[in-house]
Assembly symmetry: D2
Homo-oligomer: 167 residues x 4
């Protein structure tokens, strides 16, 4: 539905780390990792994958979005801060705003099915992928490679990654 | 050295499966997995990764190249056939030609450092990457995504992969 | 220090699940998995291993001990309950009592170095092993096999496990 | 059938490494890893597990048995030697004798179903387990712990393993 259209702004009640609104990231490829700190698939797969993307692709802006839709009382900001500290997650995390509904605002805006979900946004600020559940590294790499290869509003040249060699 | 130049043809003394010379693959992205059947890193990493590329990216032509440079007497064609059967490797495999030198011909032409090595060739037939040793799935995916996103000689449109969802 | 001596009782401020004091488990081999819900090594290694022990060895009594010594405000009982629910942990969990010290009582009694820690108690109620950090499955299996093979106070016969066969 | 009875001697046409007939190992717990060098489950699971048993339990005598029952022409001794060298397998390997039948002699004697198979023999020389297919580390550890805890013909004391601690 939203694929190909401008990505709606994240509605954060709070940022942990420097705020990084999507509007400020035009010209860059953006990966938004939507998670809950007590979601096993986020802890074992989604968040470690987002960390590796951040390490491997300096050109990709990686952002976390903490979208709590269950066990709300167990995941307040103080717990999230401890979690991010323990798991060494350094990228900025937006806390998805609650307006009284069980499901937070940004999660509703993007019509997400659950966590983990991975959003990919191109250099022009358009939403290009929503993946729910574990996303294969090869497939995620291919999405990113394609988006990185596209010219942005300022027509940056395509990325050339360094080949990795055996130790 | 060779990066960016037309990829030299594979010099095969024999093909297992249908022969697939590079010249016949113009217009497609090609992955050549260079291996030895008794190389542990090829068995645990390189070949399984090549199989997953073949499954996930139908547009990529995957080819094996058996470049034996050690233990030659242990890896004759009859053993290679048994190996490919046991490991359920279905893509075509070229046996790199020996001309008397310990190192086979194609391996010397590409100046490969060892096995596993992964070669990536673009739609225009140019060599774009040589990776020696274990290659991260995210990085390989990104290379492929970028090459798949490029127009070929016949200017095919970019690939749009299906997002993968949770079961 | 404590190895070989009677295992001190767990000092629980609360049990989640049916209380299982050590005194009630005489005659059985007991594994106590000491963890914190926000400790990455506990989540990725210690707790999944304890779950597998419970599945594979019905004769071993598996107990969790939640010994919080950091980020106390992030891991109250309400959060622990949500965590156990999300991670499908069914064995009983004792919450290690706090008496004002940063380190809870049972953790001090056993002089534990951190989490995850795994305690093994024999059929006679004696502490036989304290392992801090990730414990290899083969090594843990060997400890358990040895303890299961020992006669208890009531001289039960040694356990004969079923061999596992390929699918 | 054979479980509990004296383990029949391995019938080797050749040993790679120092010959280690079972008769010479009385008083020790013995693990015999039955494999074929081109069997994927042996390469990915059975052999690495046997190597870890050898490293972790110095009291266990680990032996390989190469029982070729398919692709015979692809796995002659010269190929097996190259395989053992590449995979850094240091324990002695008996080559199961062929007498004209497709299935070699020791494999028939033990009525094995295929490879990998793991045989466990106690200090008194009795066969105690035959496991076909991937064997869980916890289960294998438990078998070994139980056998190591049993008195042998010379009534050696039970093994006490060192606990493993976090780095």
């Amino acid at each position: 539905m939203l694929i190909g259209a401008p990505a709606p702004e994240l509605d954060a009640s709070e940022w942990i780390g420097l705020p990084r609104p999507l509007a400020a990231l035009r010209g860059r490829v953006v990966l938004v990792e939507v998670f809950q700190m007590l979601c096993p698939g986020c802890v074992s797969h989604g968040l470690p994958q987002a960390k590796r993307v951040e390490e491997l692709f300096p050109e990709v802006a990686v952002i976390g979005l903490h979208s709590v839709f269950e066990h709300h009382e167990a995941m307040p900001p103080v717990a999230l801060r401890a979690f991010l500290d323990e798991y060494r997650i350094r990228f900025p995390v937006a806390i998805d705003r609650h307006d009284g509904d069980r499901i937070p605002v940004t999660m509703r805006t993007y019509a997400l099915q659950g966590t983990p979900s991975t959003l990919l946004i191109d250099r022009a600020g358009r939403l290009r992928q929503i993946a729910f559940g574990p996303l294969d590294d090869l497939a995620l790499g291919a999405y990113l490679g394609q988006l990185l290869g596209e010219a942005g509003p300022d027509a940056e040249p395509a990325i050339e990654l360094e080949p990795e060699t055996a130790g």
